[in-house]
Amino acid sequence: MDFMNTFRLALRALARNKMRSALTMLGIIIGVGAVIAVVSIGQGAQYLVQQGIQAMGTNAVFISAGSNRAGGVRQGYGGVKTLTVDDMNAVLQEIPLIKQAAPALSNRQQVVFGNQNWSTTVTGTTPNYFDIRTWPVQQGSAFSDEEVDIAANVCVLGATVEKILFGDQNPIGQTVRVGNLPFRVDGVLESKGQNVTGQDQDDVIFAPYTTVQRKISGITWLQFIAASAVSQEASVASVAPITSLLRERHRIRTGDDDDFLIRTQADIADLQNQTQSTMTYLLGGIASVSLLVGGIGIMNIMLVSVTERTREIGVRMAVGATEEDVRRQFLVEAVTLSMLGGFIGIIFGLVGSALISNLLSWPTLISGKAIIAAVIFSAAVGIFFGYYPAHKAAQLDPIEALRYE
């Protein structure tokens, strides 16, 4: 009996009791639907995160002062005073993999315009920072290198700060008070949205680092250096030479920890990716449990079906069905049930994730892999859970089966 034949006969047998077939498939439908929806949503979230990371610049290398552990005490970001502009210049000079670099130090300050005031972060840097971070200016312009040289009181606003202080007014050329000092607004940056940790990246003001060092924060060291390498591979390759250069400059003994932390785009991307995919797989795994339950449901119903159809099996054997024929018939019925349920589940999963993405304005990425996995899984569930009932059916003695009440 060829396969197409068997398949058609299985469909007809299942159609004889549509309600029961539908209820049996329910477990698989829910299981597969849940897995598809969860994975699509998870992948959508991952995509969002990846986009965010991409937005930071692909060749970026970030050197921040202070490592996870410095001197036995967790220092974290910015607590260490050893990173300087000279370090940055040394890196630029001695490591050709690095194309450009900008210093950065930050301070929280009150910013005032008119009767609006706002507490925000003031970050001192050089104009090439915006290039490194691929952060274009949407209005006006960034401050210039000359203005950095003379520590001019000029600034560039982030989109959030601009909106809060100026609303619909044109901010270019206006004067805001940063701390107690007047600063002329040279430009406004494009919106970057939230970063990977959920902070609003637009809630910031940039000024020449010289100005911030001398007139606002009074410190000479840097909190981090933003650099960009000549290529993505170069960014990864630059980590080792930068590390040894800085260790030498900071006179760190072998065996001691770095007093800085270097992160490349790739690192951040990887980390986020890993976290996200772990989450996605975890949720997918949980959803798969319902697939298992669906399989058990199929086995139960098939067993009942075999018992109910004992006479029918007897007749089939009497007219010439071999054990193999009977086993194959019930196995195909089980697999048909599970795969049909799988396909319906995939559709439900796709519809579900589209609905959720609409409701939460979250992108969902349809995972081709997940769909293929769902199809294979449904087939496997059908084969595995259908085997025992099929075997029972095949082992019936035709004479007894024909006599069965």
């Binding site: 006969l9 007809r12 006479r311 007749v315 009497a318 010439g320």
Partner: protein, 283 residues
């Protein structure tokens, strides 16, 4: 006059002139039930030729069901041989026997055993499904068989839409669809009323007379056995009597003498009226 023999080896007992399609040689069947051993058949030998119409009779426990199971290749003899169409099938494997059943045997059961919620055509097609032929050929053969039993017009009906007699006819068509050499019928009229039983026997007689189909039928009703040509009586696992039927009944004739369903209904109505009249009049 019935020719009686006490042994099964009687050349006079055969009524067909064709070659032997069934030959049992000293067949034993023992069921091992753990502590007890049941000897269902004890040395049965017989021969059935092509074109015969044989009725197998006997009380329960006589071995008549066992004999049918062995003839139907659903069971194997513990000892002895069964030659079907000249081939010794007693030692064949289960799947080989299945193939034999598919090609050479047709079954008709007391309880019809049709698939519910399935059309008559599909029911008749069932044996062809295991014969490895194309769907078109299957449908053709099934329609053929349905026509032979006069139910071509009901091909799309489900068993629930058919009367008992019609269902049994579909079952007979199913038994014929692969053009077997032998039709084995186990109490085919057991679940039917008297008139329908005769209708079924008419079909079987027609198949046997006009198309030369060999028929072996198990029954416990002596009236039904009278439609066959030869009777095999079993008792205690042995063939006790092998005789030709005298005063054989012709189903077609019998049908003519029976009231039609309409006449029967009219008779019943008259009876009912009379009964009610008696009940009404004061005793």
């Amino acid at each position: 006059m019935a020719e009686e023999t006490t042994s099964a080896d009687s050349p006079n007992a055969t009524a067909g002139s064709g070659k032997p399609v069934i030959r049992l040689e000293n067949v034993f069947k023992t069921y091992d039930l753990g502590e007890i051993q049941v000897q269902a058949l004890r040395g049965v030998s017989l021969e059935i030729r092509e074109g015969e119409f044989v009725a197998v009779m006997g009380p329960s426990g006589s071995g008549k069901s066992t004999i049918m199971n062995i003839l139907g290749c659903l069971d194997r003899p513990t000892k002895g041989h069964y030659f079907l169409d000249g081939v010794d099938v007693s030692g064949m494997s289960k799947s080989e026997l299945a193939r034999i059943r598919n090609r050479k045997l047709g079954f008709v059961f007391q309880q019809f055993n049709l698939l519910s919620r399935t059309s008559a055509l599909e029911n008749v097609e069932l044996p062809t499904v295991y014969a490895g032929i194309s769907p078109e050929e299957r449908t053709r053969r099934a329609m053929d068989a349905l026509t032979r039993v006069g139910l071509a017009s009901r091909a799309g009906h489900h068993p629930s839409q058919l009367s008992g007699g019609q269902q049994q006819r579909v079952a007979i068509a199913r038994g014929l669809v692969n053009r077997p050499s032998i039709l084995l019928a186990d109490e085919p009229t057991g679940n039917l009323d008297s008139r329908t039983s005769v209708e079924i026997m008419e079909i079987l007689q027609t198949l046997n007379d006009e198309q030369g189909l060999t028929i072996v039928l198990v029954t416990h009703e002596p009236d039904i056995a009278q439609y066959a040509r030869r009777n095999l009586l079993f008792r205690d696992g042995k063939l006790k009597r092998d005789s030709l039927v005298t005063e054989r009944l012709n189903a077609r004739e019998v049908l003519k003498s029976l009231p039609t369903p309409e006449e029967q209904a009219a008779e019943d109505a008259v009876e009912e009226t009379q009964r009610l009249a008696k009940a009404d009049s004061p005793a």
